[in-house]
Subunit: 321 residues, 2 copies
């Protein structure tokens, strides 16, 4: 029987039932593994692998036809040599994380605009101070680098909160969701930055996006601007950002992704001024909705795969997303 | 000439220009005072007073016909004897604070749902931990006590973020903004609480609302519920809330208002479990939009007053809002 390996570290019994049901209908047998180590030694048995695992497990899966990555970011699998064959299909789970990461962006953006870290430190000292100048999403001009699931979910919410303008930036100037007022291409970024109040980065790590927020571009942002990154740390010249924050040439930033991860305990980023750091917790499987959508997307593509149709969540390995 | 006193502690030159312009057109002379103390000794000169001040200033303003309070909450002026005459008109600035307080509610609600205080303590120790179970506004059932400007602005935003249901509760069962799925009267609260994931209180302090979230009602909330209060501290049995939080019979709370304010440095509220405290900073004049709207509303009613029309923002002194 054709076999599927599932690394089920984020699943509930309902998710198992759903996968088992579709597998039975499409003629597959499913083996569940609680983590990647449990799978080691069995790699060659499976035609399909669903979950998140180290690249060496992929390589050892000599009979693998399709790897469905349960994460949205597939940068660990960018090198062709990690796949057992050039024909191995790669899908990702972009689409499962938009809600949770958009809520994270909104939370940290409001914390920056409303001076929440300062109020938290006032409260920690049992002091009472009511007034610090604040800003609002209402009336702000927001530039979003990356107009995929995450950028779009955030743009919709920011629009409902009264943002003045929401500009989406993507590799090519194709139409995106109507939540964006305008769509620009990567080479137009420099004209947008001086007018940007809030800059959000929700980009995959690809050759096009690495270092996209360079030292020169950071200098184009107005001093009252805030920067929020939830994509990949490699998108930002991190040294230049730390310098700008410490010198108060920017109002603040919130980074959920950084270089390297995990961040070493003595890294200067921990103590950078006006920076809200979070340990890459904006996505992951922390939210039930994310897990549900992730399993739904795998099941959808399992039906496509079994029927010989093209996969809905296929990654273009050349582009990296 | 008929005279207006303005306490201008939150105003920009543009606000002065706007007030001066309307005053000139309506036949008034405006005196600006940087705070209430500067006004003391001059109280009897003015027919109109706009700003926020201690009740004894009102009482001393023997020729006062209209007091426009620059705040939304007018509980310091609830006793008839603080007014120089039973005919003195009272307006408030409800309508100026909806945006800023709705953004505060959204921020602290997301911080509770997404375990932000715990992640902040992890980060403060330079540790790296990526996963804690989270929840989302998406799919949540939200009960909002108070369907005025603040409750409505929050309900609109929560709706855009995918809340499953938003129930508004008001004194009488009149229609409210379509952002609410259903409107209930105060006496129906007990049936809503057991199904509520997030309870938001945005109520003025009136005889009807004081103690509305009693010990018995706190016990009706499910243990996974969060409570957010931005109205007045007196709405909640604070002792019972602290007990429920410390015993983990509730998931958490965020209080921007409490009893007393300012909170004494040794008060047990500072150290209550799973509580985000803020020093009554959700409203105030911290946001430019609030100040703009506040001045606009005064100018609108100054034109009404001068023309002998009824005032748009008149407070029913019996009801207290």
């Amino acid at each position: 029987m054709r076999k599927i390996a599932v690394i089920d570290d984020f699943m509930t019994p309902a998710h198992h039932l759903k996968i088992d049901d579709i597998a039975r209908k499409t003629g597959f047998d499913v083996s569940y593994f609680s983590n990647e180590d449990a799978l080691r030694g069995h790699e060659t048995e499976f035609e399909i692998l669903y979950g998140h695992c180290a690249p060496d497990i992929l390589k050892a899966s000599r009979n693998l036809k399709w790897f469905c990555c349960s994460y949205a970011g597939v940068d660990p699998y960018q090198k062709e040599e990690v796949f057992p064959s050039p024909e191995t299909l790669l899908t990702n789970s972009s689409g499962a994380y938009g809600i949770t990461i958009a809520e994270h962006i909104l939370m940290v953006t409001l914390m920056l605009l409303r001076r929440m870290p300062e109020f938290q430190s006032i409260v920690a000292q049992h002091r009472w101070q009511q007034t610090l100048p604040m800003r609002s999403i209402c009336g702000s001009t927001i530039t979003v680098l990356g107009t995929g699931d995450i950028g779009t979910n955030f743009a919709r919410r920011a629009r409902a909160m009264g943002a003045k303008a929401i500009w989406g930036v993507r590799r090519s100037k194709k139409a995106a969701d109507p939540a964006f007022d305008e769509i620009y291409a990567h080479d137009e970024i420099d004209t947008l930055l001086p007018q940007t109040d809030i800059l959000v980065l929700a980009l995959p790590s690809t050759p096009d996006t690495r270092g996209i927020l360079s030292k020169e571009r950071i200098a184009l942002l107005p001093p009252h601007a805030y920067v929020v990154n939830v994509g990949r740390g490699s998108a930002i010249d991190q040294e230049a950002l730390m310098e700008a924050l410490n010198a108060e040439r920017l109002a603040g930033a919130a980074l959920d992704v950084m270089v390297p991860e995990p961040l070493p305990a003595d890294h200067p980023l921990w103590n950078t001024k006006n920076l809200i750091l979070t340990p890459h917790c904006s996505g992951n499987m922390s939210l039930g909705i994310t897990c549900d959508l992730d399993v739904d997307m795998f099941c959808e593509d399992l039906q496509n795969y079994a029927a010989g149709r093209s996969l809905a969540h296929l990654v273009n390995r050349k582009l990296g997303y």
